[in-house]
């Protein structure tokens, strides 16, 4: 996998680079999915970050909570009714005490679902090679194209520099 990328000192120039690459993808005939952006921290307020916002993790967390609660209810009620053992003059399935278990299972469901949704949504774990650059740790943002078409390489480099790249590099994985 090869990549041609530029390093940008701030998010504004990175946004210009992303826009330029999107225009280039239709002109130079490569897929917009090949555009890669890597940064060492999240940036808010720019299209290239905010377009990735989604509310689906919240919905999944609620679903996980519901499933957790149902599991808790079934666990406490079904199991206690199957083998009735009476203690302390209490009823067999006291709502308040079972409610505590159900509450904890609701929370556990939300937590585990959030973790799983994050891993799936972020594509983790991903042990294939990742495109990275030491400059990212210094605060720069990497914007580039993975496997760019051979004949467009020079043109892409020009456009990356035009957007304000501090450096333009190629990498081979």
């Amino acid at each position: 996998m090869k990549a041609l990328y530029g390093l940008y000192v701030d998010a504004a120039s990175a946004q210009r680079a992303v826009d330029a690459l999107r225009v280039a993808s239709s002109e130079l005939k490569f897929d917009a999915q090949q555009i890669v952006i890597v940064s060492g921290e999240p940036h808010e307020g720019y299209d290239f970050t905010d377009s990735q916002a989604t509310s689906s993790p919240y919905r999944w967390a609620v679903l996980g909570a519901v499933v957790g609660g149902a599991t808790g209810y079934l666990l406490t009620t079904l199991s206690q009714k199957s083998y009735p053992i009476f203690t302390g003059g209490m009823s067999l399935t006291p709502a308040w005490t079972n409610g505590i278990i159900i509450y904890e299972m609701i929370m556990l469901g939300a937590i585990l679902t959030t973790l799983v949704v994050l891993l799936i949504g972020a594509g983790l774990p991903n042990f294939k090679g990742v495109i990275t650059d030491p400059e990212i740790g210094m605060g720069k943002i990497l914007v580039g194209v993975v496997d760019p078409p051979e004949n467009s390489r020079v043109e892409l480099e020009r456009r990356l520099r035009l957007a304000g790249a501090a450096q333009v590099k190629q990498s081979i994985l």
Partner: protein, 235 residues
Amino acid sequence: MEHKWGLVVDLDRCTGCEACVVACHAENNIPTAGEDQAARGRAKHWIRVERYWEGDFPNPRVRFQPVLCQQCDEAPCEPVCPTYASYHTPEGLNAQVYNRCIGTRFCANACPYNVRFFNFYNPQWETPLQLQLNPDVSVRSVGIMEKCTFCVQRIKAAEIQAEAEKRELKDGEFTTACAQSCASKALVFGDLNDAASEVARLANGNRGSKLLGELGTKPNVTYLERGSWQDANNG
């Protein structure tokens, strides 16, 4: 009708001789703690005779109160056991299942009567005392809670015998070790659901009260006592 086992303790008859304590030890394989352990507060007596002094010299009165597991209908020790080692049997006993006990000691803390005991060490009997162990009762190993069971081994043996002979249990056919050994007949054991039984007659009489009854534990042990100390003093 189902049996409901109960005990009556007649405080007016109790002389504090502690024969019940000894009999319970013998029947239920309870080891003696020894001087050192007893000094550290680990003596185990499933039934103990509490002694209280009332009044001052020259007329102090001593009061003996045998305290054992009250087999509460709404026992605070039952819901708190995480492994169901403490639960309520259909015959009204608070059962302790030794095999289920993992020794959290929560039940002992919840018991207001302090009648639950813990095996801090593996029990030992000096030879030849191990020869007198009761084969009908298990020996509890370290880490297990134990308490008075109303001699459940005797209850079960009598029930099995009665069923084999295809008849009902008769009142007075068997009794607990403590009641059996009481010289002044202060302890009476039997079926509270049997209206004709001695224990039902005494428990429903007008001298009866429950120990710490205000806590709402609904004990099945009834204490009989005739009035206050002042009445007794004045004749």
